[in-house]
Assembly symmetry: C2
Amino acid sequence: MNTCNCEGCELRSLFFENVSNSEIESICTRKTQFHYKKGEVIIQEGDEIQEFIYLKSGLVKLYRNGSNDKQQIICFALPLDFVSLLSIFSEKYYKYSVAALEDSVTCNINLDEVKSIASQNGKFAMSIMEKINKATDNILVDFLEVKQKRLFGRIAYILLYFSRKVYNSSSFELPVSRKEMAEYIGMTVENVIRTLSDLRKDGIIKINGPIIEIADEERLERISELS
Amino acid sequence: MNTCNCEGCELRSLFFENVSNSEIESICTRKTQFHYKKGEVIIQEGDEIQEFIYLKSGLVKLYRNGSNDKQQIICFALPLDFVSLLSIFSEKYYKYSVAALEDSVTCNINLDEVKSIASQNGKFAMSIMEKINKATDNILVDFLEVKQKRLFGRIAYILLYFSRKVYNSSSFELPVSRKEMAEYIGMTVENVIRTLSDLRKDGIIKINGPIIEIADEERLERISELS
DNA sequence: TGCCGATTATGATATATATCATAGCCTGAT
DNA sequence: ATCAGGCTATGATATATATCATAATCGGCA
């Protein structure tokens, strides 16, 4: 389980910049690491919040069960993101679930330990706060952006999101099903599929099985902006 | 300007629970208090973030300018809410605006001072973090709730929100225009107006000028839930 | 006082989106 | 190997929502 090398761990500079070496050592020896296969559930809505979970590699989705039995995807998280941060300091139980969209590895740190260090180390607490703020900020901005768009704009937006922010390439394997795209943008599966087809027919994207290639990024960008 | 009595101020217990008396005194003597008339802008998108702003009384809206020149209302804030918290620890400039929906009073505290106390006082930093988390959590939940509903459900939801969370009464003066309701739920003004008319025709609400009375809360609740 | 622009209101119509139906395909389970 | 179920896909249709047009009302302001 405990296979990573803490010496070169990016968490050290990313997260523990203001923490003393001895405290880091203590955390390091007690951290746990987990591997999840694509599709596996990492956090279940209702679970007690006991750990601070950091995504070392892979891709996950945060989602919740809407009132009408449909799932709603809240956001996606990339490596270097803190997965369990939404209500981690204000709630006792998770109000959302997390599942792996690709094979993923998490590094888990006991939450009480983090809290205890933070209580005694204001600079550390401030740096956590900053990161949590940035993360929720990004979620909110994406929400607002998606909200003001219509179907085509939303699809364009999410495609550009995966292309630019996740894979940094104009060609990539879509990590989500059409259904999950629908759950994120708040539209029906059929319309997601139809819209992708339309974009393909217009030569804006190419679809080869699970592979999406953005053929005309400029037009896709315009569609995203003009709704 | 500096008219409030810090002795009995709710901020003291709400916000400064872990701060020493001398630090509180120092903050108290330097805080500033501002009065805003209904409609006045409190924070302008792009302003530098210099103060920690706390709403003593009144009601405000947080909003931003969407890409298509339309405004989007992000959320409403009530007394005891911290108005300037969204990106306050992660950004240099406000990414949203704040305006008074009712005559409002704010208590402003120099942000550097708050930061400096937090850096030296982990417990205080943690308590801020908890409050920010709760606030953004609530915003997110409302977003998700509204997102999964259709027009009628969204209108019902916002009416119940004002009735229960803001005014604690089944009869209240709507603090927002139809246009602002539309900007919050992400629909057009005409449809907001039409929907309110329909609810009135069905006897579920009564409209007397700016006064809304929820006549059949149970049905309104059902509309909100069943979308 | 009277005018102007914004807000509320309503109707007619166009458009966007959801729903329902059907089918091929793939994958996992038996 | 076969079946069941989920995912992708597409079309027809119903419904929800936006857009456009018009008008009444209200409040600020010259």
